[in-house]
C-alpha cells in the first residue's frame, strides 16, 4: 500500500490518495488472487527450463522468481516435491517435518517434483504460499446470527478437504460471544455484539512447530441487531410542529346507569346499567423513532337525551404531510354532525321509528327506508362534511386536500327494547365489528379498502369513495360484548389479513388479549368500568408485533 502511494507521489499523479487506499483495501483479496493468477501463467514454462538449474543444485535466486502460490491445484505436487528435497537435505529439521506431510498426490505430474531446485527454506515458503492461496480461495461463509440469541452452526474442518491442515483456530471469536468447539465440529454461543465482524481464521499445518507462522484468512460473521432495541428510541414530537398533537391520547366516556320507575304502580326505582365507551390512540414506533407526530385520531360522544352513542376513528395517511390534521378534522366534524343530527328535534324519533319497523319486519322496504335515512341524513352526511372540512383546511393553507388524506370509521349505536342497533360508515382500512363472546356472534360492518400492494387503501379525500361501494352498513343484534373500531395499526398485527377479520376465533383472541392474555400482562378491565380502563387500553396498545409499528387507535363500546 505504502509503495503504491509513494510511487504515485513520485510520478506526480493527481489521483486521490484516499480513493486509491479505499479501493485497494476493499479489494485486497481480489487483487492478490488476481496477481497470483497472472503469475500462474508465467510459471509453467520456466518450470521446465529450471531443470538444468536443479541439476546444478544451486542458484536459488532463479527459483525464487517462481512464486509457488501460482499453482492452482498445487498441494499434492508440492508436498511430493518437498519430500524429494528433504531426502537431499535431511539435516534441515523443517524439511524433515514436511516429509511427514501426507502424500495425497495421485494425479500430480511427476515431473513437477523436478522443478524448482530451491533451498529447503524456499521450498517451505513455497508450500506455505500454496496453502495460503488455497485457503483464501475457499468459500467459507457462516449463517448470520442475532444478538443475544443462541447461535449454533456446524463447522467441520475436515470438510474443507485440506489434509495439510491439522488444526483451525478462530481469533477473537470470543469477543463477539462465540466459540469454536473442534471436537463437536460446532461454532456456538450467544452473540453479544451486532454488526459485520471480520474474524481471523488461523490454520495450523500438521508440520507446524512453535515459532513458525500460521496461515490465515478473514471470514465474516454478521450479527443482526435486535429490532426491539433499534425500535426503542422514542423521540417526543416537537411541540412547535405545525398541527401539533400529543403523541398519545385516551378517553373514557362513562354512561351512568339509568334510573327508571319500577315496582307496583311505578312507585319503586330501578337502576339499569348502561354501556360505556373507552378509546386510546398511540403513536407508532415508526413515528416515535423519528420524532414524527401521530397521524391517527378518534372522537367519542354520548347524547344523554336520545341515548345515542357515537364513535369515530381516523387514520391519517403516512405518506401525506398533514394527515394528522386531516384525521383530527375528520373525527371532530363527523362526531359533531352525528351529534347534531341525532339531537335534532324529531329526527331521532323518525330514525328510531324506522329502526323499530325494521327490527319487527326485516323486509326489503323497511331495510331500504332505514338505509335511506341512516345514510343520507347521518352517516354519509357526516363523512361528506368531514371531507369538506378537510378541503377547507387545505384550501386555507393553499395545499392539496390529499396532503391531509385520512381514512374514516364512524359508528352510531343505540339500545332498544328489542336489542341494539349499530350503524357504521367505513372508508379505508382498519375495521368495525360487533363481537359477542357468549353466545358466539360476530358482525363486521363493511370491508377494508385494500389494493394489490401493502399500504394501498382509499382515503376520504378521494372523490370516488362516495360512489364506489355501499359504505353505510347496519345491524340489529340482541346484545354484544363490544363494538370495536380499530385503525390498521391494530388490525394488521391482530388480524393479519382481510379474511381473518371475519373469523370469530381471531376476535376471541383479541378479546382475550385485551383481557390480559398477552406477554406484557397488559389488561383492560371492562367489568368495573372506570377511568382506569383508558390508561390500561393505552398501555395495551404498546404491544410488540414484528414489522407492525404504525399508529394504533382503538375505540370500544362495552
Amino acid at each position: 500500500m505504502e509503495t503504491i502511494k509513494n510511487y504515485l507521489k513520485k510520478t506526480g499523479m493527481s489521483a486521490d490518495e484516499n480513493q486509491i487506499t479505499d479501493f485497494l483495501e476493499a479489494n485486497e483479496n481480489e487483487i492478490k488472487s488476481f496477481l497470483a493468477d497472472l503469475w500462474k501463467d508465467q510459471v509453467v514454462k520456466p518450470a521446465e527450463e529450471a531443470l538444468p538449474i536443479e541439476a546444478a543444485g544451486e542458484q536459488p535466486a532463479a527459483a525464487a522468481s517462481q512464486p509457488a502460490a501460482a499453482v492452482s491445484e498445487p498441494a499434492a505436487a508440492v508436498s511430493e516435491q518437498i519430500t524429494a528435497v528433504s531426502e537431499q537435505a535431511a539435516a534441515v529439521s523443517e524439511q524433515a517435518a514436511a516429509a511427514e506431510a501426507p502424500k495425497i498426490s495421485t494425479e500430480a505430474p511427476k515431473d513437477m517434483a523436478k522443478f524448482g531446485a530451491a533451498t529447503p527454506l524456499h521450498e517451505e515458503q513455497r508450500k506455505q504460499e500454496v496453502l495460503q492461496h488455497q485457503i483464501k480461495n475457499r468459500q467459507i461463509t457462516f449463517p448470520n446470527g442475532k444478538i443475544n440469541q443462541p447461535y449454533e452452526v456446524d463447522f467441520d474442518a475436515e470438510k474443507l478437504q485440506m489434509p495439510e491442515i491439522a488444526e483451525i483456530l478462530f481469533e477473537n471469536l470470543e469477543a463477539i460471544g462465540l466459540q469454536y468447539f473442534p471436537e463437536e465440529h460446532k461454532i456456538k454461543g450467544v452473540p453479544t455484539k451486532s454488526g459485520d465482524h471480520k474474524v481471523e481464521m488461523k490454520f495450523k499445518r500438521k508440520d507446524w512447530e512453535v515459532g513458525k507462522p500460521l496461515l490465515s484468512r478473514e471470514v465474516m460473521f454478521i450479527i443482526n441487531p435486535d429490532p426491539r432495541e433499534l425500535w426503542s428510541k422514542n423521540i417526543p414530537t416537537p411541540e412547535d410542529v405545525e398541527y401539533y398533537k400529543p403523541d398519545s391520547d385516551k378517553a373514557f366516556l362513562k354512561v351512568e346507569p339509568k334510573t327508571v320507575k319500577d315496582g307496583f304502580l311505578g312507585l319503586g326505582k330501578k337502576e339499569i346499567p348502561r354501556k360505556s365507551m373507552v378509546a386510546a390512540s398511540q403513536r407508532g414506533r415508526s413515528h416515535a423513532i423519528e420524532g414524527k407526530p401521530r397521524d391517527d385520531d378518534f372522537a367519542l360522544h354520548f347524547d344523554s337525551q336520545t341515548e345515542w352513542y357515537v364513535m369515530v376513528v381516523a387514520d391519517g395517511a403516512g405518506s401525506a404531510n398533514y394527515s394528522r390534521k386531516g384525521s383530527q378534522v375528520a373525527c371532530q366534524t363527523a362526531k359533531e354532525v352525528c351529534a347534531n343530527q341525532l339531537a335534532k328535534e324529531g329526527f331521532s324519533d323518525v330514525l328510531d321509528c324506522a329502526i323499530g319497523e325494521y327490527a319487527k319486519d326485516k323486509s326489503e322496504k323497511n331495510r331500504a327506508d332505514l338505509y335511506r335515512s341512516l345514510h343520507s341524513e347521518i352517516l354519509a352526511k357526516a363523512a361528506w362534511a368531514a371531507k369538506i372540512g378537510i378541503e377547507k383546511e387545505a384550501a386555507a393553507n393553499r395545499r392539496a386536500p390529499k396532503e391531509y388524506a385520512t381514512t374514516l370509521l364512524i359508528s352510531i349505536c343505540k339500545k332498544f327494547d328489542f336489542g341494539w342497533f349499530v350503524g357504521a360508515f367505513w372508508v379505508g382500512d382498519g375495521g368495525i365489528g360487533i363481537y359477542r363472546k357468549e353466545p358466539q356472534r360476530l358482525k363486521i360492518l363493511g370491508e377494508p379498502d385494500g389494493g394489490e400492494f401493502a399500504g394501498q387503501t382509499r382515503f376520504l379525500t378521494m372523490p370516488e369513495v362516495f360512489s364506489d361501494r355501499v359504505r353505510t352498513r347496519f345491524e340489529v343484534v340482541e346484545d354484544f360484548t363490544a363494538v370495536v373500531l380499530m385503525s390498521d395499526g391494530v388490525t394488521d398485527p391482530k388480524f393479519e389479513t382481510d379474511a381473518n377479520l371475519n373469523k370469530i376465533e381471531k376476535w376471541n383472541a383479541l378479546w382475550d388479549d385485551l383481557n390480559g392474555h398477552n406477554e406484557d400482562n397488559a389488561k383492560v378491565s371492562f367489568l368495573d368500568s372506570s377511568e382506569q380502563s383508558a390508561a390500561q387500553l393505552l398501555r395495551w396498545l404498546d404491544f410488540w408485533s414484528k414489522g407492525n409499528h404504525d399508529d394504533r387507535t382503538i375505540a370500544i363500546l362495552f
Binding site: Q19, D22, F23, A26, L230, S286, S319, F453, A454
Partner: protein
C-alpha cells in the same frame, strides 16, 4: 409482516470491468450493513441482485436482510449489454417472487428497482417491447444510475422515475450512491401508500440527477 422487495440490476459487461464493478460490490455490502441498522429495513427489506451482460443472472434471489450475504460478483469479461433481456428476466422474477394482497394473504409493499448500467441496450428491439411491461409492474420507485464511460440516458429515461449520473464511478462515489439508495429504501418503507410514487431523499452531490 409485510415485505419490501428491492431489486438491484447491475450491468456486468466489459464496460464495467475494473473499479466500477468492485466499487459496486463494496457499495452493496455497505448498503446492506447500514440497512441492518434501520429497524424498518431489518424487518421488511428483501433484496434481490440481478447481474446482466449478454445474459441476465439472479445472483441473489429475493432474500430477507436478516439472512442475507452479498454474493461475489464476477469480474465482467463478456461483451454485450442486453438491458431489455435483463428487464424481461426481472419482470418474470417479480411475477414469481412478489406477493400481491388477497383477502387470505398479506401482500408486499410496492417493489423498488435500482438499475446500475451505462444506459446502452444492445437488444434495442426487445428493450422497447419490455418497457410497457416494466411500467405495469407498479414499482414504488425506479432509479437508474448511469455509470461507465460515456453513459447514455435516452434508454433508461423511458422507464426510470429518476435517473442519476455518476461522473466518476470510483468507490467513494458509488459508496455515496448506495448510502442514498439505503436512505431511499428506508423512506420507501414508510411512505408507500397514498402517493403514487415515493418521494426520494435528494441524492448526494457526487451523483447528479438528470431527470
Amino acid at each position: 409482516m409485510r415485505r419490501l422487495p428491492v431489486y438491484i440490476l447491475v450491468q456486468t459487461s466489459g464496460a464495467m470491468r475494473g473499479e466500477p464493478i468492485e466499487a459496486i460490490k463494496v457499495g452493496l455490502e455497505t448498503m446492506v450493513s447500514s440497512l441492518r441498522q434501520d429497524p424498518f429495513a431489518l424487518e421488511s427489506v428483501h433484496l434481490s441482485v440481478i447481474t446482466f451482460n449478454r445474459y441476465p443472472e439472479q445472483i441473489l434471489p429475493l432474500t430477507e436482510l436478516e439472512n442475507m450475504q452479498i454474493p461475489a460478483i464476477a469480474q465482467p469479461t463478456a461483451a454485450g449489454t442486453h438491458l431489455g433481456e435483463a428487464l424481461e428476466f426481472m419482470c418474470k422474477k417479480i411475477d414469481s417472487e412478489v406477493v400481491l394482497s388477497t383477502p387470505e394473504r398479506k401482500g408486499d409493499w410496492m417493489p423498488l428497482l435500482f438499475v446500475m448500467c451505462d444506459g446502452r441496450a444492445s437488444d434495442s428491439q426487445l428493450f422497447q417491447q419490455i418497457i410497457p411491461v416494466v411500467k405495469q409492474k407498479h414499482f414504488g420507485s425506479i432509479v437508474a444510475c448511469l455509470v461507465g464511460h460515456n453513459p447514455r440516458k435516452e434508454n433508461v429515461e423511458q422507464f426510470a422515475g429518476s435517473v442519476v449520473n455518476m461522473d466518476t464511478a470510483d468507490s467513494s462515489t458509488i459508496r455515496s450512491f448506495f448510502k442514498w439508495v439505503s436512505a431511499s429504501v428506508s423512506v420507501g418503507n414508510r411512505s408507500v401508500g397514498a402517493a403514487d410514487e415515493i418521494i426520494l431523499p435528494p441524492p448526494p452531490p457526487e451523483v447528479h440527477t438528470i431527470v
